[in-house]
Structure formats: structure tokens, C-alpha cells
């Protein structure tokens, strides 16, 4: 045990004192923020920025006006929402660029006009043309001419607005007045109450989704990162040939255990630093979403994050240690670590379905299969706590698998660390497992 402790201590101190630890500790939160918030912010920015110019072509001016009114109102609502969201996030000081929508109504429905407008769209003078001729209206299918055909969100918003405008218009022609029509279209809000947290201050589903996602990404990146650290550390001992000195003092099992514990402690230290920094920042800046996050960050969640990080780390770092012992160079290590990365990637592929429907078959089995369970079970707990027996079973399966893997990988490790030169083939590795 003394040897394990000494090896772990060396591993820990050498890593924590290194420059790369400092850099990674600073860099990863930025990376995380960029990865999770980046695409969203970017899309929002693209959608919201500047003035959008649409033309509605119709022979009935009332239809055109209705669509125009609806689009303008939708745009105002979206802008307001974006401003609120920004106010909640870190970019509070920066003012939201006010974006507007201009809608012209064109009553010329000739083919020539369509051609002329298409050219304008192509030259980016117009953002879109909604072709609402009588024929199209009758068919309930309006051609929408735009360069931005792939912008799903924008098209969806447009479609909703146009549909609503047309429904309103047809109700108006049936003789209803504006108040009556407004009453018909009054939006009903669903107010989700999370049964898990219960009582007031229950987490907002959007916050739950984003926060779960961020935590899962941290889990995923750290499992990979620390696993690879273990692999490289084994490889370093092998290539620098210190292995032989170490083996004359310590057992391979002790070396493997010490390494895994040491690198794992570095991981926990890093989490502690991030956690402490985050709580200082959120405390100081009176984070607007804090109340919403409060409902999400229950002690149960934080404990399960730690538990499933440790479970996943034990499982993956053991495999990574074996890979490090098998190979002779970084290049070989990269090729061989592909096998270990596969299940983590599979787990991340299951993350989205599991976030959306935590009780689906995919989520259930993903949280039971040992290689994906650290990530998938954590998601399920974050989103909607599954029955205790499932959590228990998942942890038990994971521990049992890790135990088995430790036995197998220790054998590979023991033989592999003394093998220099050529990369072992699969039959050779199987032979190593049989060595007594």
C-alpha cells in the first residue's frame, strides 16, 4: 500500500506542478463555454441581426397586411426574448443589436414579377419572397423564395406566423372582430413543474437541459482527458525505460493502481478549482439565473456527478493503462486508443436521446451497459431521477466490470511493460492474458 501511495503522490505532484495543468485548468472552462454556448449564440446572432426584408405577393391586400402584421409582431417577441436571455447570461453589458423586419405587400402576381423578385433575392436585396397568390392559398402551400433555404429555425417561425395570419384573416372574413380573434389565438403557456425537486423554485426545463448538457460534456471530456493522461504516463515510463527500475521495487499492480489514483486525484483537484471559481463568480455577479439553477444543482446531482465520474474514470483509465503498456510510441498509442474511445463516443451519441426522453429504452439500456452507463445514468439522474434500483444496478454492473477489467488489464500491463519493439498483435495479447 505504501508503494501505491508513493507512486500516486509522485504522479499527482508532478502533474499539479506542471505548466500543462495550469493551462488545461484555465483553458477547459473556455472550451466548454465555446462548445456548448457557441453554436447557440452564433445561430441566434445570425437569425436576429440586421433588418430582414420580405415581400408578400398576393392579389388580396388584406392577406398581405395580415401576414405583415403577424411577422412584425413575431419579430418583436423574438427580440424581446433574446434580450431577456442575454440579460441572464454573461454578456449583460453588451446591448442587443435591435433587429427589425420589413414586409412589403406586392399585388402584382405575374410570372415576370416573380422572376424579378427572385433576382432581387439572389442579389441579396431581399431576404425572402412569400408567394401567396390565390392558387397557392387554395392549395395551402405557399412558395417561399429565399437563399436561406437551410435555416430551419427561421423557416419554422415564418411558417407559424404566416399560418396564423391566414387563419386570422379567414376568421375575419367569417365576421369575427379583432378581440374575438385575439381570444382564439391567445397563447396558452405550459408551466412545467419538475416533480423531482418539488415545491417552489423547481428547475426550469430549459435550464435543466442546458446545465445537464454542460455537465455531461465536462464528464465526457474529463473521462477522455484523464484516461489519456494515464495512458501517456504509462507510455512515458516505458519509453524512458524507468519501468525496469520501478518493477524491481514495486509490483505492476501497485504501479497501475498508483498511477490511476494519482491522475484521478489531479482530475478531482481540477474539478474543485473549477467549482470554487464558479461559485465565487456566480456569488459576486448575482447571476440572474441562479434561482433557476438552484433547483437544478441539488446535492444529489453533485454527488452523482462525482460518483459517476469516479466510476467512469476507473473503468476507462484501467483500459487506457493497458493500452499504454501495450504500445511503444505515441503514434501506436493513438491508433490503439481508438478502441477505448469508441464506447465513450457511443455514450455521447446516446446523451441527446437520453436528455430528451430519460425513460426510453435507449436511455435505460445505455445506463445499464457498463461502458456507457457513467454518462447515460448521470443524464437520467440529472433530468429525471430513475428508480433507486436502477441506479444501484447500474453502479453494481459498473463496479463488477471495472473489477474484471482491472484483473485483465493488470495482466496485459505486467507483460506489456517489459515488451519493447514491436506492437503486439491481438493473438499475442490474448496469450499475455494466459501467462500466470
Amino acid at each position: 500500500m505504501r508503494n501505491v501511495f508513493l507512486i500516486a503522490k509522485r504522479e499527482y505532484l508532478e502533474r499539479v506542478r506542471s505548466k500543462s495543468f495550469l493551462i488545461m485548468t484555465l483553458l477547459i472552462p473556455f472550451l466548454m463555454a465555446a462548445l456548448t454556448l457557441g453554436p447557440g449564440l452564433l445561430a441566434m446572432r445570425l437569425m436576429k441581426q440586421g433588418t430582414k426584408h420580405f415581400v408578400v405577393v398576393t392579389s388580396r391586400p388584406s392577406v398581405g397586411e395580415a401576414i405583415k402584421a403577424r411577422l412584425t409582431e413575431t419579430q418583436e417577441r423574438e427580440t424581446k426574448k433574446a434580450t431577456e436571455l442575454k440579460a441572464n447570461s454573461m454578456e449583460r453589458s453588451e446591448s442587443t443589436p435591435s433587429s427589425q423586419v420589413t414586409v412589403d405587400v406586392d399585388t402584382n402576381t405575374s410570372t415576370d414579377e416573380r422572376a424579378a423578385l427572385t433576382v432581387k433575392v439572389r442579389n441579396k436585396e431581399l431576404d425572402g419572397v412569400i408567394w401567396a397568390t390565390d392558387d397557392a392559398l387554395a392549395a395551402n402551400k405557399l412558395p417561399y423564395i429565399t437563399l436561406d433555404v437551410s435555416s430551419f429555425i427561421q423557416t419554422t417561425i415564418l411558417q407559424e406566423s404566416v399560418s396564423e395570419a391566414l387563419h386570422r384573416e379567414s376568421l375575419r372574413t367569417k365576421g369575427l372582430n379583432t378581440t374575438e380573434i385575439d381570444a382564439v389565438f391567445k397563447r396558452v403557456e405550459l408551466d412545467p413543474q419538475n416533480a423531482k425537486a418539488g415545491g417552489p423554485g423547481a428547475a426550469n426545463p430549459q435550464v435543466t437541459f442546458i446545465a445537464s448538457f454542460v455537465m455531461v460534456m465536462i464528464l465526457y471530456i474529463s473521462l477522455l482527458l484523464y484516461g489519456i493522461n494515464v495512458m501517456r504516463s504509462v507510455l512515458e515510463e516505458k519509453t524512458s525505460r524507468i519501468m525496469e527500475v520501478m518493477l524491481s521495487i514495486a509490483k505492476p499492480k501497485e504501479m497501475m493502481a498508483g498511477k490511476i489514483l494519482g491522475v484521478g486525484s489531479v482530475g478531482l483537484t481540477q474539478f474543485a478549482i473549477w467549482g470554487a471559481t464558479a461559485s465565487v463568480f456566480t456569488g459576486a455577479s448575482a447571476f440572474a439565473a441562479r434561482d433557476q439553477l438552484k433547483g437544478f444543482f441539488s446535492p444529489m446531482l453533485l454527488i452523482s456527478f462525482a460518483v459517476f465520474f469516479l466510476l467512469g474514470y476507473a473503468l476507462y483509465s484501467t483500459m487506457y493503462a493497458a493500452v499504454g503498456a501495450m504500445v511503444n510510441s505515441e503514434q501506436e498509442a493513438q491508433q490503439a486508443s481508438f478502441l477505448v474511445i469508441m464506447p465513450i463516443v457511443a455514450a455521447i451519441a446516446m446523451a441527446f436521446p437520453a436528455l430528451q426522453s430519460p425513460n426510453s429504452a435507449v436511455a435505460f439500456w445505455g445506463s445499464m451497459v457498463p461502458f456507457t452507463s457513467p454518462i447515460v445514468m448521470f443524464i437520467r439522474i440529472a433530468v429525471q431521477q430513475p428508480p433507486w434500483w436502477q441506479i444501484g444496478l447500474s453502479i453494481a454492473i459498473n463496479l463488477a466490470t471495472t473489477y474484471g477489467l482491472v484483473l485483465l488489464c493488470a495482466r496485459i500491463y505486467r507483460v506489456g511493460v517489459l515488451m519493447y519493439g514491436k506492437k503486439p498483435t491481438l493473438p499475442e495479447i490474448i496469450k499475455w492474458l494466459r501467462y500466470s
Binding site: E14, R241, I242, E244, S248, K251, S436
Partner: protein, 300 residues
């Protein structure tokens, strides 16, 4: 008492027999040479002595007891494959290895400092290993093997890659340890070095012993039938001479292997008649010659 006893120790890798029922003992306080050509099984044998690998069959007694990992705290090992943690500072590294060998942290550090002073590298204690030359790294590794004051010291090719000054420094340290009653095992294929230091040897080839025992006993059967001559003048008389079995002209001197039954005095008379003799010495064969002869025979 024997420091280590190997009893019919065998190790095979797949179908390759690395060590073939090898037996030998090393007495306490002896300097023992484990010799053999490359690939003879020297390193495989050493690895089994210190529990890096386990023998397939046979037994090993270490420090008077059947092999037990606890005894390893009294063993120092300098492997042939040298290596240290490249990014670690010398002082930290030696302290760490000392601690692993069972020393307390401050004791380990203190010993590291005094050893580095003795080997004239104390200035390098705060440096990282990667900043050191090969020879210096070798000294560090040498210290790492001795830091915990082991009773049994195993050195695999200890002088490999060292300049004569440093090799001399290390040799003095080893002789000093011998005086203190430590047991030292050398593994080498450099016979000249081993010959100067060892009391006893075991020469192995293909995992089997081909020659073993006290250095004197090993050499005795080969007799004193070598002559070194330094002379001025024509050496042509050595050709086709019935007294000479073979000779090697090294420029400054000639080494002559006498024919069986030939008299060295007769040769001296012949040389003196034809040239000015500055040195004439009858010698026993060097270990290297015996090595080449024996290994050549077993390989044939």
C-alpha cells in the same frame, strides 16, 4: 551464507528457452560476474532474481530465504536499460526512489545529497534529468541503486557508455562497497572489466552455464601458455615456428600462444638471438580468450 541461490531455474518465452535449468550460488561478500554473449539469458536471469518475472520452474533463495518481495528493500538494481523520469528534478527523483525502497523521506533526501557530493554531481540536484548528459544520467541511476544501502547489488553493464574517469570513479565506489561486505553481481559481456573486479564467475550461453566457479579455478585448466613479447627487430621467425601455435601482432607487442608442450624458455632464447627484447612475460589466458574459445565451441 549465500546471498542468492538459484536452483534449476527455468524461463521460457513461447518456445524460446531463455534460461535453461540454471543453478549457481553467490557467497556473501563476493563480487560475482554473470557473463555471456548478447542474448545468453543474463537479463532474464536477473529479472527472476528480483521478481520482475517468475521462473517457470526451479527455486530462488534470496538473502537466506525463499524469494520474498520484502527482501527487495535490501537489493539494489542497475538495469541495462537505463531510464529516469525525464521531467523530474534529480533530487526529487532520488528521494522518490529511496522512499520506494523503504527509506523515510528526509533520510532519502539526505542520502541523495551525500551520494551526489561523492560522485561530484551535487550541483545538478535541482536540475531536471532531461538537462543532463548520458554519462551524468548514468551516475544518477547508479546512485538510485545504492541509495538505500542494499546488501546485494546487481549491476547490469555498469560501465557501459562511461568515460575512463567516471568508470574509475564508479569502480572505486564498488570496491569500497565490497570492503563493507556487500555482495555484488556484475552482468556483462565486457570480459576485461569483469576480470579485474570479480572473485567468481558464471559464464552462460543459450541460458545454460558453460563455465563457473572461482576465477582462478576457471582459468587453471587453460594453463600458462601465453607469452607477451616486446622487442626491436624482425619478427619473421615467428612464422612456421614449431613452438608457436598462433600469434597476434599488436604493433607495440606480440601475443603468442604456445604450441602444446612447447617451452617458453626456448622461445625466449630464439627471440633474444634475433632481436633486442625489452619485455618477455608468460601469462595465463585472459578471460576474453577463454570466453571466445568456450562460446565459440558451444555455438559450433
Amino acid at each position: 551464507m549465500n546471498t542468492i541461490e538459484l536452483n534449476k531455474v527455468r524461463k521460457t518465452y513461447d518456445h524460446f528457452v531463455a534460461v535453461d535449468d540454471l543453478s549457481f550460488n553467490i557467497e556473501q561478500g563476493a563480487v560475482f560476474g554473470l557473463l555471456g554473449p548478447n542474448g545468453a539469458g543474463k537479463t532474464s536471469t536477473i529479472r527472476m532474481m528480483i521478481g520482475i518475472t517468475a521462473p517457470d520452474s526451479g527455486s530462488i533463495n534470496l538473502l537466506g530465504k525463499p524469494f520474498d518481495r520484502k527482501s527487495l528493500h535490501k537489493v539494489g538494481y542497475l538495469p541495462e536499460e537505463r531510464g529516469l523520469y525525464k521531467k523530474m528534478k534529480i533530487g526529487d527523483q532520488l528521494t522518490f526512489l529511496g522512499e520506494l525502497h523503504g527509506l523515510e523521506k528526509n533520510v532519502a533526501r539526505q542520502k541523495a545529497i551525500s551520494w551526489c557530493e561523492r560522485l561530484e554531481i551535487a550541483d545538478w540536484l535541482p536540475k531536471k534529468v532531461e538537462e543532463l548528459s548520458k554519462g551524468m544520467q548514468q551516475k544518477i541511476q547508479f546512485i538510485a541503486a545504492l541509495l538505500h544501502d542494499p546488501d546485494f547489488i546487481i549491476m547490469d553493464e555498469p560501465f557501459f557508455g562511461l568515460d575512463p574517469v567516471n568508470a574509475g570513479l564508479l569502480k572505486d565506489v564498488l570496491l569500497d562497497l565490497k570492503k563493507q561486505g556487500k555482495t555484488i553481481l556484475f552482468s556483462s559481456h565486457r570480459m576485461d572489466q569483469v576480470e579485474k573486479l570479480c572473485d567468481a564467475i558464471c559464464l552462460i550461453n543459450h541460458g545454460k552455464p558453460v563455465l563457473a566457479g572461482n576465477l582462478k579455478d576457471v582459468k587453471a585448466p587453460y594453463g600458462k601458455n601465453n607469452v607477451q613479447i616486446e622487442y626491436e627487430g624482425d619478427g619473421a621467425f615467428l612464422d612456421h615456428n614449431p613452438l608457436v601455435k598462433a600469434y597476434n601482432n599488436y604493433g607495440n607487442y606480440v601475443e603468442v600462444k604456445l604450441a602444446p608442450g612447447a617451452d617458453a624458455q626456448e622461445l625466449l632464447r630464439q627471440v633474444a638471438a634475433r632481436s633486442r627484447v625489452t619485455r618477455f612475460e608468460v601469462m595465463e589466458p585472459s578471460l576474453e580468450e577463454i570466453f571466445i574459445e568456450v562460446v565459440g565451441k558451444t555455438n559450433a
